[in-house]
């Protein structure tokens, strides 16, 4: 069979498997393995299946994912999120979409700690979605907001992704990291503006008739993840700030201070910061429940660990499945074929690069981010730089487009992470993501048209 036919077949197979409700990880692995077997024989496919699961997990830098999930889970069970959001929603009660804006800001802040977008989405989802739901946000919008704002994790330094790009292309690491900051802020502003614009229409007042199944949804979200701490402020918003518990705010500030301070003063690496954050959150959990006896504490602890292990398994299963599918695409020479056919069209440099970059969106729909980076950068970078485009600029655009793929169906890993950690149905998150994709594409267009936005800050460090 001709490789292009097999590629088409595999894509159809993947969509069909997802349609009949096969778990995403298994659908990706089966589609990829089938393609490899058709293309190169079953031994070849078996060899990929033998090596990839281990290769995609036995990697120190990836410990950051379970550790940030664990930190978020501990923090929620220590009632930190609840306390912080009670204060935030009181302070922001007059601002339309105030809580949504606060969530975006929190994601941006957390992105300055976390080097991965999965880690950011996992932590913030655990901290914010139940609380936003309680404030009357539809779960589709609340979930989508966290999934999308989680992508700031790789744009705002530290970022594993930007460092990897710099090493693959020979660009300056410092320049790459600096280049992510302004686009990160622009993206955050865009999300916040959108939330403020739609909030008056979409967000129901708590307790009003516009929020018919709010309570049941909140309960489902809490019940699905074993949290039982969410009843305190659900009924009435206290009118006076001094009635609120402020220690959550203090603890969150402390968590940020320790993690961020630890990274920037060199006590630990960004990878290690996740474990340190989890440790500090664990101590806070102990402090919160120290008076309720060992049994309660033990239950809180083991519940948090089991939840973390389950979510970690789910995320990595998808990463492994995606890696197997990605090996199929590489073996079928799909990226090369696509790149050379676009280059052969002989369009103007700007149009050619724009088309090559847009090619990342469908790739992003089916693959996980590191896979896309590894297969696309060696193809795009030489073409773009030979046409005179800046490599740093290209890198940021590539990262932005790959991150769009992280929130789009069928394989939008950030949405799965949010669904897995918050208990919100993933189809609903995908529905909520649609307007954000339009916003993201607009941000990309602005960055494409005005390279100075990306290149100004790195020009100061270079």
């Amino acid at each position: 069979m001709d490789p292009n036919t097999i590629v088409l077949l595999v894509v159809v197979l993947l969509v069909a498997l997802l349609a009949i409700r096969m778990p995403v990880a298994l659908a990706l692995a089966l589609a990829g393995a089938t393609g490899l077997a058709l293309l190169q024989g079953t031994d070849f496919a078996t060899n990929m299946l033998a090596t990839e699961p281990f290769a995609q997990t036995n990697e120190f830098t990836l410990t950051i994912i379970p550790m940030f999930i664990l930190m978020g889970v501990f923090a929620v069970r220590a009632r930190i999120a609840e306390q912080v959001y009670a204060v935030a929603s009181h302070l922001l009660r007059r601002l339309p979409g105030g809580l949504g804006v606060a969530t975006v800001m929190a994601c941006a802040g957390f992105a300055a700690v976390s080097g991965s977008s999965i880690g950011t989405a996992a932590t913030m989802s655990r901290l914010s979605i139940t609380e936003m739901r309680r404030a009357g946000y539809p779960e589709s919008i609340a979930g989508a907001l966290v999934a999308v704002a989680g992508t700031l994790g790789v744009l705002i330094p530290p970022s594993v992704f930007l460092v990897l790009y710099a090493i693959m292309t020979g660009e300056s690491v410092a320049a790459m990291l600096a280049a992510g900051i302004v686009p990160g802020i622009i993206s955050a502003l865009a999300y916040a503006t959108f939330i403020m614009a739609v909030a008056p229409k979409l967000v129901a007042k708590p307790g009003s008739a516009d929020a018919p199944n709010l309570d049941s949804a909140v309960e489902a979200a809490a019940g699905g993840t074993g949290s039982e701490s969410t009843r305190v402020t659900a009924t009435a918003t206290p009118t006076k700030l001094r009635d609120l518990e402020m220690r959550g705010l203090v603890r969150v500030a402390l968590l940020f201070f320790i993690v961020l301070g630890g990274i920037y003063s060199g006590f630990f690496t960004p990878t290690e910061s996740a474990a340190m954050g989890a440790l500090v959150a664990a101590v806070m959990l102990i402090l919160e429940f120290r008076r309720q006896g060992f049994a309660t504490l033990y239950e809180k602890f083991t519940g948090a660990l089991k939840e973390t292990a389950g979510t970690t398994s789910m995320v990595f299963a998808i990463v492994v499945g995606s890696a197997i599918l990605s090996k199929f695409f590489v073996t079928a020479r799909l990226p090369q074929t696509a790149t050379s056919s676009i280059s052969a069209l002989d369009f103007s440099p700007h149009l050619t690069i724009a088309l090559l970059l847009l090619m990342l969106v469908p790739l992003g729909m089916a693959l996980e981010s590191i896979s896309i980076l590894v297969i696309s950068v060696p193809l795009l970078y030489p073409i773009a730089t030979s046409m005179g485009f800046d490599g740093v600029w290209l890198g940021i655009l590539i990262v932005k487009l790959i991150e769009i793929g992280m929130v789009t169906p069928p394989v939008g890993i950030n949405c799965y992470v949010v669904a897995g950690t918050s208990g919100v149905n993933v189809e609903r998150i995908f529905r909520g993501v649609a307007p954000f994709v339009a916003i993201e594409l607009a941000v990309v267009a602005v960055l494409f048209a005005f390279p100075e936005l990306i290149l100004w800050l790195p020009s100061l460090v270079r």
Binding site: R21, M22, T57, P212
Partner: protein, 176 residues
Amino acid sequence: MDRIARAIAAPLGILASISTIVMMLGISADVAYRNIAGESIAGVLELTESALVATVFFGLAYAGTSGTHIAVDLLTSRLPEKAARGLMLLAWVLGCVILGWLVYASFGQAVDSFERNELRMGLVSWPLWPARWFVVVGFAALLLVAMVNVARLLTGRPLMGDPNGEAGSGDAPTES
């Protein structure tokens, strides 16, 4: 078979949880030691890598029995119950196929790694073969969960870990 699947998934879930704590404490201890003594604790990096493999693969079946693995509802919720059930049966039979394939492939890899006494060379020589076996055990346990799901679909019972207690019907959309 149900009971066997749970009896296997639950302790694996505990092992996965313990590995999570090992990662957290291992990395924290290394950070502390490095800032006090000025050097890394030999073997912690390798230990946490193996712990990550353990968390991921031991947690697979636990995630399977607690309904954490994610599937997308593109079609089945719009179909009549019987048709949906038939398609999901197909999905889980195919799931058994790919999981069986993964068990077979990773088993060969683990045997090979054990026979070669595969090591990772860092500050210490760290054996890699135990972690290779974690992969086999994890896939095998998830295969068992998948087989239980096939049996459940055939006998009209809900999938393992289905929060609705009702297979084939996703939650009804509630928003306008």
